[in-house]
Symmetry: C2
Subunit: 323 residues, 2 copies
């Protein structure tokens, strides 16, 4: 099969071995995949990953070993964390926190930048027939946005600020606005802020924003080391900062500000697929303006070049030309 | 009146002017006061405070201007934060987060290391007649310990670890144990850990503790810059770290650990006086083993020397010799 391999450099391979599903796993033919910021980090050495990257996808189940054989022939999206199934975290349904987990295309498991991929069948969510691949491929990142609502009780009286107009910041701001939350998005890119404004999200230029200490909840999605300090400038005493940026390096912060003002900081990562599937399939959340380009999978290396350009948002890989 | 003054150095003054209560304020004759870690920080320049330090006290109300005249003659303890009374935080009962607040003996307001002090009468809590000054003078620090229970819902199934065997760490560990919580105290001082062990708190030597990632809640009360890293080593994925240390300098941390493991960090400062008064007056919490020494107020400078010695816990100032 065709696949992208990363072993220090990214290569397109035409004759990769098609994976075999293990016990309780499904074999999935990939229809569409998305390039994520984490994929770009992997190219820089994140997690020292070697193999086939990619974790955002829509596919069709071709075979299942074990239960869930009813999924064969269905179009699906899939959760990326695969736990051991037996530890305390897994037994509580928190496979994403299993110490022995693998993560699709990120850690210990080949990903979706290939014609075929395997995943535990229990990780899969069937996609409604009427829903478009180009929408449903946003399920994983939108789930990460939903995780904010899963972790923090946002009140009708709360003022919320999202810092960062990258893909995740945009998705969070659009989701919150569509959930009835009084939210503003702060960013530095005119054209990205315009996407949020086009969906009626209030936007503000980061450079023009003074330290307000006025927001009940600030969501830090800048991906930059200075993001937490910026969040502390905007959050109200007793407020909450949701940390979405995984900044690889150590960050220097004045945590006594968080103690004196009794700020709560909430680390937030992957989220629930259920509500993300519903929101995308019902078109409650419109992700189309976030698509910068769609490339045939054969041009995957060009797609990565495009994803790395300043101003790019989501770059998608379409496998249909391969069929 | 006699008072301790700090203006870059600490001086004992025999002829300080007795303060006059302003509107809605009470004049209080101090009976006993406690030296806190924050007082020691003030001597090093914390908040650039100038004036009479001290914020832990028991006293008798001598006069009240405005309402609450029923307090005259009563023995009281007092909350240290004095808000403007008109901003959003004050109107929500959060004077401690008022941007224009003063804080007794810490910021903008003379404190209790003096024979007389003034405070808004609404800040005062009457002390039961049978309760001893030497217990009730712990109300303010015990309230800061209670703040943990006010902010975090500790479940019966939770495993809790307190980092730091200073006064606050000991009070938190003893309070949690007495509240039925499965708690351990980690510290470096044999004799301080022995105080907790004497009250049936499980103790562990910090140096002998490996990174466990096993505690649902970790309370960081080390007062040291490395405390947060130590807490991240012990907290479970999806767990909570309560930040009690106000480390003045900027701290370098790997916050991506908090994001990936979805840790919640909760800044925590002053707490509720009501439950602290009840717990101390009823002797539910035994604070006597934390008293390292009691000095007559005339020897206050010696008391500060003692408080600064390694191994010292609470050093108290007794004003009764002055009467």
């Amino acid at each position: 099969m065709k696949a992208l391999f990363f072993d220090g450099s990214l290569r397109f391979v035409a004759d990769a071995r098609r994976p075999e599903p293990g016990g309780n796993e499904a074999l999935i033919r990939v229809l569409m995949a998305g390039i994520c910021g984490t994929d770009m980090e992997i190219l820089k050495g994140y997690k020292a990953f070697r193999g086939i990257p990619g974790h955002e996808f829509v596919g069709v189940v071709e075979a299942v070993r074990g239960p869930y054989t009813g999924l064969v022939g269905k179009r699906v999206v899939g959760e990326i964390n695969c736990g051991c199934g037996t530890c305390g975290h897994c037994l509580k349904g928190m496979e994403k926190h299993c110490a022995r987990r693998t993560a699709l295309g990120i850690s210990g498991r080949d990903g979706v930048f290939a014609e075929y991929v395997t995943l535990p069948a229990r990780n899969l969510w069937e996609v409604p027939a009427h829903a478009a691949d180009i929408d449903m491929v946003f399920t994983e990142p939108l789930a990460a946005a939903f995780e904010v609502l899963e972790q923090v009780h946002v009140l009708p009286t709360h003022k919320v600020l999202v810092l960062g107009d990258g893909k995740l910041g945009l998705l969070i701001a659009i989701l919150l606005h569509n959930s009835g939350v009084d939210v503003a998005l702060s960013g530095t890119h005119e054209e990205k802020l315009a996407i949020a404004a086009g969906q009626h999200v209030r936007t503000v230029r980061a450079g023009e924003q003074r330290a307000s200490r006025a927001y009940d909840i600030v969501i830090e999605a800048t991906g930059a080391p200075g993001g937490l300090d910026a969040a502390l400038d905007q959050v109200s005493p007793r407020g909450t900062i949701v940390l979405k940026s995984t900044v690889a390096d150590r960050v220097e912060v004045n945590l006594s500000r968080a103690v004196v003002d009794e700020i709560t900081l909430v680390g937030s990562r992957c989220g629930p697929f259920g509500p993300a599937v519903v929101a995308l399939a019902s078109k409650r959340i419109n992700v189309r303006p976030l698509v910068s380009a769609v490339y045939p999978f054969d041009d995957a290396l060009s797609a990565f070049d495009r994803a790395g350009q300043a101003g790019s948002l989501k770059v998608l890989l379409d496998f249909s030309a391969n069929r």
